[in-house]
Amino acid sequence: MAQPLVKKDDDHDDEAEYSPFLGIEKGAVLQEARVFNDPQLDARRCSQVITKLLYLLNQGDTFTKVEATEVFFAVTKLFQSRDLGLRRMVYLIIKELSPSSDEVIIVTSSLMKDMNSKIDMYRANAIRVLCRITDGTLLTQIERYLKQAIVDKNPVVASAALVSGIHLLQTNPEIVKRWSNEVQEAVQSRSPLVQFHALALLHQIRQNDRLAVSKLVTSLTRGTVRSPLAQCLLIRYTSQVIRESGNNTQSGDRPFYDYLEGCLRHKSEMVIFEAARAITELNGVTSRELTPAITVLQLFLSSSKPVLRFAAVRTLNKVAMKHSMAVTNCNIDMESLISDQNRSIATLAITTLLKTGNESSVDRLMKQITNFMSDIADEFKIVVVEAIRSLCLKFPLKYRSLMNFLSNILREEGGFDYKKAIVDSIVILIRDIPDAKESGLLHLCEFIEDCEFTYLSTQILHFLGVEGPKTSDPSKYIRYIYNRVHLENATVRASAVSTLAKFGAAVDELKPRIFVLLRRCVFDSDDEVRDRATLYQNTLGGDGSVVETDKDVKDFLFGSFDIPLVNLETSLKNYVPSEEPFDINSVPREVKSAPLAEKKAPGKKPTGLGVSSSGPPSTADSYERMLLSIPEFANFGKLFKSSAPVELTEAETEYAVNVVKHVYDKHIVFQYNCTNTIPEQLLENVIVIVDASEAEEFSEVFSKPLRSLPYDSPGQTFVAFEKPEGLATVGKFANILRFIVKEVDPSTGEAEEDGVEDEYQLEDLEVVAADYILKVGVSNFRNAWESMGADCERVDEYGLGPRESLAEAVNAVITLLGMQPCEGTEVVPPNSRSHTCLLSGVYIGNIKVLVRLSFGLDGPKDVAMKLAVRSEDETVSDAIHEIVACG
């Protein structure tokens, strides 16, 4: 390694002179590009100029529109030259310039000529260039040539056409899909890479057709796939098919598993690894299935190639999360990787060991890690700290050595994120392992004695205030806290004062001493610190005697603060301009920030010091809250179900409208979500006029217009109907969007004064039976079915007529009923002749319903179905049958 360094130093001075691009300047190169127009082309010179242009682009220089166009036109002249090398550079620069569609026409004919040239190199490259810059209309013109090229005997040409097909499928799927036959032929090609590209394209063409993908995989896994890359693809597609065919483990062997296992003995490492990874990621993989994959990965661990070691250890690390036992065999190999040169590999090895390690190996492991920690970067250290935290939660008895480890690394150098990860871990351990509390708190106290991060100091002080008073000897923490008042900045001092007061409030023996300390704080130089000290002094009362303060005040100052901060903020904002005194009780507490519930949730990233990350509320939740905020809907009672949005307009129309159906016991509310997609318009008084003449049992009770709908910011308008109570009334509604449209000046964004009334026809909306059934799953269908009893069971048989496939019929019935499929029975294994599907749900009026559907193929396409319904109410069972009978 030293040798190249020496050489570099020697050359360093004259190296700069030798760079062919030294002092290169865009303007000069553009001037030079004029040689492209010479009648006698100098091919070598032109190539050099193109290289210079490409160099500029590569260095991040950009050409203006005019410059690019000029260069492009000049370059097109170079098609006159017959020089091979120059032509290659021309192709390259055309791709880099990515000309606009009106410019493309200029080179089209030249490129098409090259596409039909005798020189294969020209053909392959011309195809790639043309497909890169082409648009739909041009594509239809060259389609014929591309189809030929796909089955060309020259592999380079065929690959060029296939790869271009893969790109074009994104923009012009309907054209590329017509090439299926040629692509299928190319899959059988003798050239490995053609096979790879053809397989990738064929799969993408058919990816939405599960049956076709399954057939493709079935035929190819039996045949011979030559290229390792194609083999990797096939493994990916196979695991997709396995995933979609559902779990067949109880019925014996998983389909295609043998193929995956066979790939573990392939001669290419790439394929072996792909197969091993695919096996480890199978749903519900059994240990018997895992073993061969783990064995090859274990061999990779001791490979001389870092890439192989990394790939193996990363995969094993993932396996260890779910099946730690399966990985323990690799522990010895893994331990030797701790000293791996590549720190990524070492970190992955350590975290895997931490996951798979058993209680007895913890101490030995910790010793090894201590040496390792000193020479890795912070980002790796954080990963290790997190792994140690979960290990400690797994083996609470080992808390002592793990806590010691954490406190040791806390004392060492490190950045904020690293220190925060350690502190968070200690806090979580204190919370979850009672024995660790006292030692953990002392470690934190020691840390704040010498902590440079204000954020961490204040967080720890707050935590001490909560946990410290509950310990056996609270007084020992006081010294650490009071030291902060002397030594730290104002923010930390203020929170130290609060913490002191909390000790005083919670521990009566300490109160007189705390009071003395607080009195000293009154002379602090900072306002906030003085204010807090004075406030707490008054609440705690003087000379140690317990003052009868208002209990509410005490609760407020020292109790837990359970009001969501977001709500408090809104309430305070409302309070500022108002005259009324502020009342904390008026702040709503509804928002579910739920920091407590989240703390314990396993698997989730544990949150540290009171930092709660409240996830987005579920849609049902947010709908309910939104509807409650509209007074007219408040007396409708409890919301039963909100449907998924139904589109009432085609995509890309002027106004996009979809509707959500909210079902109540006696009412139904349509929430129309409208989006105005015209920048030059402002809509006002937007309302949907609903014609319910085909829904006789519904009567409109209320509608809430949308005041204004500016461009691209969605708004809602509502219409409410009354309907017979507790019944699943169905009907069809015609909708018209009515509004006042105002022109908007695009330059100023201001709307004109006067508007015009206008209407816009929307599609019809149907309320169907499925709207009255909630999708509610049951964990054990059989138990639920048995316990429901046969009292209200209704069984009948139906002929569904000719269907495309069994799966299609199953899906149609599930959608019709709108119930929750249980135990993965919605997936129909390919090629099966019969299928049983289990559904569960809750019918309006909170009545549980279970459905058992047995499908069978009757003749080639005809599907017959037996429907068994059990529910708590026989009328509901009948209603379900009626839905199916009418559907």
Binding site: T51, Q170, P306
Partner: protein, 182 residues
């Protein structure tokens, strides 16, 4: 629209050739993950600084950051990188790196350093163009790649490694005169 990796075609996010100061010699991005030149340069800087101190001269090395997998190999004052998504098969990326590294080695006739690379930048750019097309791997055999790229300087499409001594001498002489004329 991106399919989960397990259904997607293996893809390469970028191919980078940097010098020993982390400056660009030749780079090609196949993904929109880095929309601006500034974003690209920032990524290159991170890749360069994080791998700088590692020894990737005998075997290709690998690192993972910002949810990308980067395989890399160094020779003289040149740093070769190939980047893929974090779900990509590491060994496929390593194959692409080998294809790039070895074909450049062949094209530069073993004199793989920055000066030589810049003087033959056209070959390097063509080489990248022959390895990956829009993120999809086009060819992985270094000899075939070098053969395709070099077919402009020699008449037959025979791979460069199979050139006769006379041919090699002729091309070398041509090369030499060219650099004198500059």
């Amino acid at each position: 629209m991106s399919a989960p990796y397990s259904e997607a075609c293996p893809s390469v996010k970028n191919i980078l050739l940097l010098d020993s100061d982390g400056k660009r010699v030749a780079v090609k991005y196949f993904s929109d993950d880095w929309p601006t030149n500034a974003a690209k340069e920032a990524f290159e800087r991170v890749v360069f600084t994080k791998t700088q101190k590692t020894n990737a001269r005998t075997e290709a090395e690998i690192a993972m950051f910002e949810n990308y997998i980067v395989v890399y190999k160094f020779v003289q004052d040149l740093h070769f990188f190939v980047t893929g998504g974090d779900d990509e098969n590491e060994l496929i990326l390593a194959t692409v790196l080998t294809a790039f590294f070895d074909s450049v080695g062949t094209l530069l006739r073993g004199n793989v350093d920055k000066r030589e690379a810049l003087e033959n930048l056209d070959l390097i750019l063509l080489c990248i163009d022959e390895i990956v097309d829009g993120g999809i791997i086009l060819e992985t055999d270094p000899n075939v790649i070098a053969g395709k790229v070099a077919s402009n300087s020699i008449d037959s499409a025979a791979p460069l490694s199979e050139q006769t001594l006379t041919q090699a001498f002729a091309t070398a002489r041509e090369h030499f005169t060219r650099s004198l004329l500059k």
